[in-house]
């Protein structure tokens, strides 16, 4: 085999290799574009499990751990208790939270038989009917960032 023949052979093989590389490149580009435009917009990945569900029926009051809760318009609900459903207000209609009264976090609220019960350290149980159809509606002053329909 002389040098000329060898060179021609190498050239032919290189051409074949170049063609193959070109085809592979085009296929890769196709797959890439397909992946970019055809796949679902976002892929959900498993990140963990629910460890606890907590409901605070009284704003700033004691948390109630539950195992199941329903998502409602105004937040979570479980066993007749709705999250941040009740609010302590002064006679003037100002809201009272743990910001002013940190010991409010010790107060628990439960509901049974149409009544709500408030309990705390060194206090007698306070009981009141859940429905007060005859009571006037009190306008209260709020100063919080309201995140509607949110789950905390």
């Amino acid at each position: 085999m002389d040098l000329k023949e060898l060179a021609a052979n190498a050239l032919a093989q290189n051409k074949k290799a170049a063609l193959l590389v070109g085809a592979a490149g085009a296929a890769l580009l196709g797959f890439g574009l397909g992946y970019k435009y055809m796949r679902k917009p976002e892929k959900a990945v498993r990140v963990g499990v629910v460890s606890q569900i907590l409901i605070h029926p009284l704003k700033s009051g004691k948390a109630v751990p539950v195992s199941v809760a329903e998502c409602q318009k105004m937040g979570l609900k479980s066993g007749g208790l709705e999250d941040r459903h009740w609010l302590v207000v002064t006679e003037e209609g100002n809201m009272v939270t743990a910001r002013q009264e940190p010991r409010l976090v010790l107060v628990s609220l439960s509901c049974r038989g149409g009544h709500a019960y408030l309990n705390g350290p060194d206090m007698e149980e306070l009981k009141f009917p859940v429905k007060h159809p005859d009571n006037p509606i009190l306008n209260c002053r709020f100063h919080i960032t309201v995140v509607l329909n949110a789950i905390y």
Partner: protein, 133 residues
């Protein structure tokens, strides 16, 4: 919604800078979790990974991440005694450098008609969709 992995990180930071006067309570994971007064506590893998999620599927229910939850001195209230401590806000703001958020707000997304799709249970699996950048 808060993430136990983030709670763990804040706890570690607090115990490393602990000055002894208010440490005991804050070394208990459960008491730190309660200070954030969240509805949902998840067992996630990475601290603050929830900041990168745009949507969540919890069990069969889909949620939009409506925003990050800004924190203030309210997390200083010990939920067992009603007394205030500087922690965990001190460690949280030192770690987060200005942006004092912890956990996210979720907004329920499943259609009203789909019955049973709006119940959350402890132990449910959680899937996340990351933000698109």
């Amino acid at each position: 919604m808060i993430n136990r992995a983030s709670v763990k990180l804040i706890q570690d930071l607090m115990s490393s800078r602990q000055d002894g006067c208010e440490g005991d309570q804050l070394l208990d994971t459960h008491s730190v979790i309660r200070r954030f007064r969240a509805n949902l506590v998840i067992a996630g893998a990475e601290p603050f990974e929830e900041d990168n999620w745009s949507h969540l599927i919890i069990g069969n229910t889909r949620f939009m991440v409506a925003g990050q939850c800004g924190r203030c001195q309210m997390i200083g209230i010990d939920q067992d005694t009603g007394t205030k401590t500087k922690e965990p806000l001190f460690s949280l703001s030192a770690y987060r450098a200005g942006k004092v958020t912890f956990g996210v707000y979720l907004s329920h997304q499943s259609p009203e008609s789909s019955t049973g799709a709006n119940v959350l249970s402890a132990g449910s699996l959680i899937q996340a969709e990351p933000h698109k950048y």
